[in-house]
């Protein structure tokens, strides 16, 4: 069911365009990473404050409260780019182990929020009064850093796995063959300068369609 839903999604005009246009995918990917740098790091800055690794002269509540909305808006930006990238190759990504891991990590992040939001993030005024930051808040910060850094690494991992056979779209316009074959053909075409280069390129898993 999910697979057929993915098949429907990726064949919508917008996503077919992203997949077939040579510029759309890299530009969306670059925007995805730019927004991660600009906004995602606000999460780490909050965690750094909770752990006492920086901004120690500033009240905890001040940092958490002021970054709350920028983080939400940033997440919207990053997730929008992520969804557009996903939609272009929805079925392939659902099969991708690193993509599955990324979804699992997001589930863990949701659980982190359920556990720590009422106790730490919505309770920051109490942290301001405390002499030292309680273990629970530090734990929240440490787990958050671990989960979000893992999400970034899993995201990079997605590009390293080749698409499985029998996908319901053509990776390149006008060519009809199993996706993995096309990747191989494409790599040969671009990197015909030397056999070694080509091999390196494959090992490098430039999984984004060129």
């Amino acid at each position: 069911m999910i697979i057929s839903l993915a098949g429907w999604l990726e064949n919508l005009g917008l996503f077919a365009f992203i997949r077939s246009n040579g510029y759309a995918y890299p530009i969306l990917l670059a925007l995805h990473l730019t927004f991660i740098s600009f906004f995602g790091v606000m999460i780490l800055v909050t965690d750094i404050r909770l752990l006492g690794w920086g901004l120690r002269s500033q009240p905890v509540s001040d940092i958490i409260d002021q970054l709350r909305w920028p983080k939400r808006i940033g997440f919207l930006f990053v997730a929008t780019m992520g969804f557009l990238l996903f939609g272009a190759k929805a079925e392939e990504y659902l099969h991708n182990r690193f993509f599955q891991l990324k979804l699992l990590l997001f589930t863990a992040i949701a659980i982190h929020a359920l556990v720590f939001r009422p106790r730490v993030y919505n309770n920051a005024n109490e942290l301001d009064g405390a002499k030292s930051i309680p273990g629970q808040a530090k734990l929240a910060g440490a787990v958050s850093i671990f989960l979000w850094v893992s999400v970034a690494c899993a995201g990079r991992g997605i590009g390293y796995l080749a698409a499985p056979f029998g996908l319901h779209y053509d990776r390149t316009v006008g060519v009809s063959a199993p996706a993995a074959d096309i990747v191989a053909v494409h790599n040969t075409a671009v990197h015909n300068i030397g056999g070694e280069r080509q091999e390196a390129q494959v090992a490098r898993g430039n999984g984004h369609a060129h």
Binding site: G22, P26, I27, L29, A30, L33, T34, I36, S37, F38, F39, G40, V41, M42, L44, V45, I48, G54, L55, R56, S57, Q58, D62, I63, Q66, L67, P70, V149, A152, C153, R156, G157, Y160, V190, H191, I193, R197, A200, A203, R204, G205, N206, H208, H210
Partner: protein, 151 residues
Amino acid sequence: MLIENPLNSTELAFPILECFHIVGFAIGIGTIAIVDFRLLDLGLRHQSPAQITKDMSLWTLIGLSVAVFAGLLIFSTDPDHYYLNLAFDFKMIMLALAILFYYTVHRKVVFSSDPSPRHGKLVACFSLILWASVIFGGIAIGFVAEGLNFN
């Protein structure tokens, strides 16, 4: 004598280096961006740009250092692949400009005793554009074929 780069003898080295590169540049650029947002009156408005820069500068330095060091190792796995790539050249130029800008003009405006808000906003926009173009250049490396390959 040819010496084999040990980073090319294991398949895992490259992706792991990339993860360090990504997390490193995100921290480096993000801690600068948070100052830029402040200069644009967004985000940590209760703190001064100078205060945020002071508190974040160590993380900026750590992030950028990790990114550059991992980047050098990535470059070493196949130098030809990179310096013959126009996107790579573009990225290096933008990176040099961005770092230079951050440690000169950006710092001067942030730490000036009487900063003009107009200057601050201009500097912030320029800084964000510079760093974004470094990221765009980096992504483009994987999508363009090597240069000097005309035929």
